[in-house]
Each structure stands twice: as structure tokens, then as C-alpha cells.
Amino acid sequence: MALLLAASMGAFGVLAWRRWRLLRLARPEARFDQLGERFRRMMRMGVGQQRMSRYPLAGLAHKAIFFGFIVLLLRSLILFARGFVDAPGFGYWVFDSGTLLGNVYALVKDVYVVLVLAGVGVFAYMRLVARTRRLTLSAEGVLILVIIATMMIADVVYDAAGLALHHPGAGFSPWEPLGSLAAPAFAWMGDGAKAFAWHAGFWVHVSLVLGFLNLLPLSKHFHIITGLPNVFFQDLTPPGRLRPIADIEGKIERGETLGLRTLDDLTWKGVLDLYSCTECGRCTDHCPAAKTGKILSPKAITVDLRNHLYATGSSRGATKAVEGEGGGVTLEDIVPAVVNPEALWACTTCRACEQECPLNISYVDKIVDMRRHLVMERGENPASLNGAFQSMERAGNPYAAGAEDRLKWAEGLEVPVLSDLPEGAKDRVLFWVGCAPAYDARARGIARAMVKLLNHAKVDWCCLGAEECCTGDAARRAGNEFLFQAMATGNVETLKRYGVTKILTVCAHCFNSLGNEYPDFGGAFEVVHHTQFLAALVREGRLTPTHRVETSLVYHDACYLGRHNDVYDAPREVLRSVPGVTLVEAAASRDRGMCCGAGGAQMFKEEEHGTQRVSEARTIQLVQTGAKTIASACPFCMRMLTDAVAKQGDGAIAQMDVAEVLLKSIEGEIA
């Protein structure tokens, strides 16, 4: 026993040490703040298994096994002890057989043995019979299921044979239902055979536990160890915020990498992410790019990176070095050796994957970091992005339009422009129009509706006019951090010059960028999205929708409002306040809403090869609700959806912004 224990613990120690070293060799990252909040989230998502329930059946099965493992951990420890203490009922005194606690535990344990077996059954069914697509059929996955099942059966054998041996003839015991039910099966044996079965049950269970332990660091089941820490150390900053790169020019001067080029550029949390992936495929299952035939699969990115990590390690003294296969490793560039650039460029940064992942593995930061390296160091980005990059840099908007045309959207409306207001932004809300509402003929309707609503509600507002410049969101998400920072710094400077404190936007991307990212550049403003603002005005009675707008309406959640900023209810509240509107929900909505295809700079590039446009797939989902109108709350979504609707043929379904719907109800028909 001691030998077995020592050998397997030793082997586990070596493996774990290697994994630990890789973690320690990775880049530093501060994740030790807000311990209380971290603990709460770990309890909720980790221990509470909150996200598992998003897939109800698998969720239940996993809960059974998860809690079963916690319960059975004690059982395993007891069995190890029994290997040393020659007392068949030993249970660290407190749990000794026959004591009250011992009995209760024995019962609970038996219940969980059944539950775990049921869970294993479900998983085996999913993998082998139903062949759930998100799962990769691997020998490893099946082996693990077999091990778990065998462990459980061995445990029952141990109990039953033990009962038959030590208490022959004893009947059914409510404390040990499984053992006592199975004991008669051994009754016919001689004592020698009973003892053999008893020992066999013990050894099989014990050695499988140890074997399992050693398998963990080698397999996707490492998450049993790293999962809770990974949840604990999750990013607590707003999910819509990307981490800035400091001192870009200096880094280039010093020849340092920008973004994620090789494994060496991963932080320890990045490495922990890789360790933790269970290959459940929930991320890819919800990825809009994967759904529409692009070669992107977030799960594959993690798994491929992990395999690459295990194969090469870190050049700062890697596993190979530990194994004595010589020192310095030159690491390959992740793109294209491990990740196909086309996969990177297919991502819409919608965060569906992150929302789904039960282990809080993050993707958008890694994908953008890889793009950062490609764009800023290698100058490799899809050619179709060049126009937008150049225009943002030179003209301050992505549409190659002139700054002098910035106010064209407002023709015929009275617009207070800050440069004409001697007192600056004092007491006024700044209406940040955004490039799409300023220049996109269709999106201009959103800005116009918004201004009319502001005037109806007698809100004191102003805007920047020609001084407004693109927030740079698309540049940032396309990996052009340098350009983004230049734009952000410029905008913060302008906003501060006028003493702006409160900003209103009609674009989900401006909203996210200004609210979550500008604070990193010295611009801490109160930023509200127009749906929030309008919901408040309606609630306060400053806007009263009166005219009936007879339509059934489906609301499309913008990723940068919903998953990135948790704004799900405000737009719905506004729509519900409109008499005549019947609000229906798409099957995929709220935090499971599918991306329209525009985020992550997709709005300014050609889509990667696939079987369908993301926007079309989403539009079809929305049309299938039978609604007469699609409501959106972001000009990018609007463009994606209108284009896709136009392709479906004329008049398939109407498409309006939430503000336009509200205005229609306030003014009656809009001219």
C-alpha cells in the first residue's frame, strides 16, 4: 500500500510540478484583488455549477459526478487509511462504521455512487450513442468514463464482499443499501473467495483513484484540479474591456513582442485557462463563426494551444528542459503554426463562447492579442480592412468620409454643438453620435429619432459636431491597438476640454468603448446607452408613448450591450411601454442571443470563408419568430440585419431601432 501510494503520489508530484512550473514561467498578471468577490463567484459558478445548467441534461449529469466526487473523496481517504490500519470499519474514528456519522456518510455515499453511475451513463450515451456534435469522440473521454464506472462498481464490490465476509447472513441495512443488497451475491462463496473479492474491490478502487489522479494532468480532466482556481481567478474587470498595451513605441524600440506571438507571451492565467478546458465544446457550439461554416472553433484554439504547450513548453526553461532534453527551446509563432489566421479573423468577439464556458475560460482577449501581433508587428491583416484603418487614421472615421460632413445626419434639426456653446458641456448630456449614425444613411434615422426624443423630453443635450472622431473600437478589436490608443487619447482630450461628464450613445460599440475602455486612458465619464436613457425617461413619465404601433416585434440583442454590458432589460422595457407592440423572443436571445456578425471589426472587412453570412443566419432566426418587425439597438446590427433582410427579398420583415419604435408611438406616423 505504502509503495503504491508513494509511487503514484511521486509520479503525480512530478507531473503536477511540471504543470506548476509552466504556470510559474508564464507572464505575470494581477489576479489577487477582490478576494471576496472572487470567492463568491467561485462558489456560484464553480461549486454552485451555475453555468452547467445551460445544458440541462449534461448539467445534471455533471452535477451528480461533481458532487459525487466531493462526497467520495472522503471515502477514498478512508480506504487509503484502511490500507494501513488493519480495521475493516476504520473511518478516522468520526466516520467509523456503526457510528452515527459513519452510517449517515455510508448512506450518502451510496446515494452518490448511484448518481455518479447515472451521470456516467448519461455521458456515455451522449458520447457513444447520441454522438453529440460538440464533443470530440476520444478514447481518453471513454476511458475516463470506464474508470469512473469501475471505481464505483469496485466500491460496491468492496462493501458487499466485506459484509459477506465479516457479517455473513446480515440482512438489508438501510445505512449501506448497495453493499447489503449486493452481499447475497457473495454469500455462496467460500471465505477465501470472499476475502479475495473484498481485497480486489479495495485494490481496484484504490489504484484507480491513484491512476486517475495521475491521468488528470495528462488529460482534459485536469479541470478537476484547475477548474475551481480558474473560476476563482477570472477577469473581474468589465467583460467588454480589453487590456491596453502600455508603451507600444517603447516596446517596439526594445524589440519586445506586442500581443500574443508565442506561448511565452501567455500570462499564467492564460496557461491556467488551457489547463482547465474540459473539451466540452459548449463554446464552439455557440460560436456564430463556427455555426456558419468558418474554420474558427474556440475549443480547437484552446485544445491546440494546450497540446502545443505540452509539446514545447516555455522557452524560459521548459518541460523539455526538466526532462533533460537540452535547454533553450525556440518557440514557434502560434500563428500560423497552431492557429490558422483565417480562424482569428473570423471571430466577431461576441463572447458567446465565454458566456457558455463553465470554466470561465476567456477567448476574446487571446484572439485580439494574436491579432495585435499580426497587425502591429507583421502588418498582416485582411486586405479588406486596410480601407477602414487608413480612413480612421487620416479622416477620423472608417467610411472615408470628411469631418465636415459629420453633421449631415441632422439636416433640418437644431443641433447644439459644443464649439458654439461658451459654457461648454455644463449640465448637458453629450450625445455621442458615432460614425455609423453620422454617415450611414439608414443609421442616420437612429440619431434623428434620438434627437427628437431628447427634445420631446426636454433634455439639455449637446454634441461634438465635426470634432467627434471615431472611438476606435474596430481598430482595437482588429488588433490595431496603436491606432486605437491614438484615437482614444484624442477623444478623451476633446471631451475633457469641454468638461463633459455624461455621455449618451446610440451605438453599442461606442457605449462599450467609452464606458469600459476610455477609463484606461484617463476618460472616466458616465456613459449610458440610449435604450437605458429612454427607459428611464419613460419610467419617469418624461416620455409617454401614446399612439398604438400595431406590430409583433422581436428584439435582437446586441453582443456589446448584452453579453458585454449586461443590458438586456432596458430595450425590452422601452418596447413594452409602446401600446400595440407584441414582443416576442427569438429562441436564441438575451445572453444566448446570436451575434449579427458585425463585432470585432467584422463591420469593416469581408467575412471569412464559410457556408453562410453570420447576419443571414441570425436574420433567419429572427424571421422564424413570425414577428413583423425586428428591433435593434445598435447601428452595426441594423446594417447587418437590413442587408440580410434585403437579400431575403423585399418587405420580408421591417427593421427599426428601439428609439424609432418609441418615436413612432410618441409622434404617430413619422414622416
Binding site: I248, E249, I252, E253, L258, V375, M376, E377, R378, G379, N386, F389, Q390, S391, R394, A395, A400, A401, G402, A403, E404, F482
Partner: protein
């Protein structure tokens, strides 16, 4: 074999053009300046030759403008970032608006600068420039340089191929509704037309490196052979762009519309 690229700094084509107080030149403060997009074609072509042919030993860029106090000439920066080895900046009133608007004068100054450079470091087998700069819209530079340097010139080239012996080149140029194949001996001057070589976007590290590449300052007034030279044309005035007229909607039956449209395109817009 050495290659020279002429690159001019011009206002971004998206920029709003305003005329300065004197009426003789445009306002440049607050206007984004860029490397001329046609010259960029030449830069790209030059860099490709430099990268692709071991016998191309140096690619030099020459720009001209006010000077030498200007912080950094955009055309030079762009060309160096794209991969040109070094720069020559010709400065002085002779190459600054309004004199700059006389493109033949610019050609004479640059020809003198090229001769001076060639006297020091040897001949340029190929001189590349844009088919017309988007500031003067003249397109006189390339052919005039050819004449002044006594070399063949090929205008509006959409393709060039240097012979393996580095003694001749084959080019395709765009004529009026035709495409012409031309063979010329080197050294030669080529003006580049869209389609020649899609200019690359310089990566950030290359932009940073470009700041360290050598740039030689040459005062136009000090160039040999230019004594007493001055602009022969006089800029009377520059009129600001007319505010864009609203769309002229044509009325009538389709047949009337068609003939009216064609008439307008011919005699009002003069584009057909």
C-alpha cells in the same frame, strides 16, 4: 543597379482644401498630409525590386518641400517605412508652393539634384514617380525628368519588368482606350499608374525603424546649374473648391433623360 523613387507629400485626398489668406496656396495647418498615392505605387515597385533582385543595391527616395525645419516629410516617412533604404530631401522656396505649382520647374530642380547624387554615388538605372501628383494634377514630372536627364520616359505604366541583364525594361502603359507594350533601355524614367503594384501597409516596427534611416538634406538653391532659375508661370489665384452642388435631377421621359445626360456629361462635366 540603383533605383530612385520620387515621392511627394500632398494633402490627404479626403481632406477639406482651404485656400490661404494670400490666395496663392492652400492652408496646410490642420490638414493631414500623406505620401501621394500615385507616388506610393512607385515606392512599392521600388521596394519590390530592392527585395526581389540581388543586383538592386540601393533604393533611394527623393522628396521636396519647404524646409529643412519641417519635422518629418510624410512622403519620406512613408517610403522609408515601406522599405526604401534612404532619403534625400530637397528643400527651398523653389520647391514650395506657389513655385511648386510649376511642375516643369520642379522637374528642373529634381533633375539637378539627381545629377548631383549620381555624380557622387553612380547612376540610377530606374527612376519611378507617380503618373500625376494629387496636388498639382499635372503629371508633367516623369516625362520632363526623362527629357532633362536624356532618358526614355514611360508614362502611366501598369506593369514593368526589368530585363535579367539590367540593361532594358519592358513595360505596359495605359493609353487612351488602349494598352501599349513598350521596350526601353535603362536608365529610364517610369511614371506609375494604378494597377502597377498594390502599395503595402507599413507595419509599426517598420514605421519606427524608418525614423532612423538616413535622410540627406539638399538645399535647392545650392544645386549646381540652377543659378537664377525661377518659376516662369505665375499663380494668380487659387479658388477654393465650390461647395458641392446638390445633385442635378434630370426630368422627362427616359429618352429625353438619356440625351440630356449625355449632353451634360459632354459639355458641362466634360468627361466623355
Amino acid at each position: 543597379m540603383r533605383v530612385l523613387v520620387i515621392a511627394r507629400t500632398v494633402p490627404d485626398s479626403r481632406a477639406t482644401i482651404r485656400v490661404n489668406a494670400s490666395g496663392g496656396a492652400i492652408e496646410t495647418t490642420g490638414v493631414a498630409m500623406i505620401c501621394d498615392p500615385f507616388d506610393e505605387l512607385g515606392v512599392e515597385q521600388g521596394v519590390r525590386l530592392r527585395e526581389g533582385r540581388p543586383d538592386v543595391t540601393e533604393a533611394v527616395v527623393m522628396s521636396a518641400g519647404p524646409g529643412p525645419a519641417t519635422p518629418q516629410d510624410q512622403a519620406l516617412r512613408a517610403a522609408l517605412a515601406m522599405g526604401i533604404d534612404r532619403g534625400i530631401y530637397v528643400h527651398g522656396d523653389l520647391v514650395t508652393p506657389p513655385a511648386r505649382y510649376d511642375e516643369l520647374l520642379l522637374a528642373r530642380v529634381l533633375a539637378a539634384a539627381i545629377k548631383a547624387e549620381e555624380a557622387k554615388n553612380g547612376e540610377f538605372a530606374l527612376i519611378l514617380c507617380g503618373k500625376a501628383a494629387i496636388d498639382t494634377d499635372a503629371g508633367e514630372l516623369g516625362p520632363a525628368l526623362g527629357e532633362l536627364l536624356n532618358r526614355p520616359s514611360i508614362g502611366a505604366a501598369t506593369k514593368i519588368e526589368i530585363g535579367a541583364d539590367a540593361k532594358s525594361l519592358k513595360a505596359t502603359r495605359r493609353g487612351d482606350g488602349v494598352s501599349e507594350a513598350i521596350e526601353a533601355s535603362l536608365p529610364a524614367v517610369v511614371s506609375c499608374e494604378k494597377g502597377l503594384a498594390e502599395p503595402r501597409f507599413a507595419s509599426l516596427p517598420n514605421i519606427m525603424k524608418a525614423k532612423k534611416k538616413p535622410v540627406e538634406m539638399v538645399s535647392a538653391a545650392d544645386l549646381p546649374g540652377l543659378a537664377g532659375i525661377k518659376a516662369t508661370t505665375k499663380v494668380v489665384k487659387l479658388s477654393p473648391p465650390a461647395p458641392r452642388a446638390p445633385c442635378k435631377m434630370l426630368a422627362g421621359e427616359p429618352a429625353q433623360m438619356a440625351s440630356e445626360l449625355v449632353r451634360l456629361l459632354r459639355s458641362e462635366a466634360k468627361v466623355i
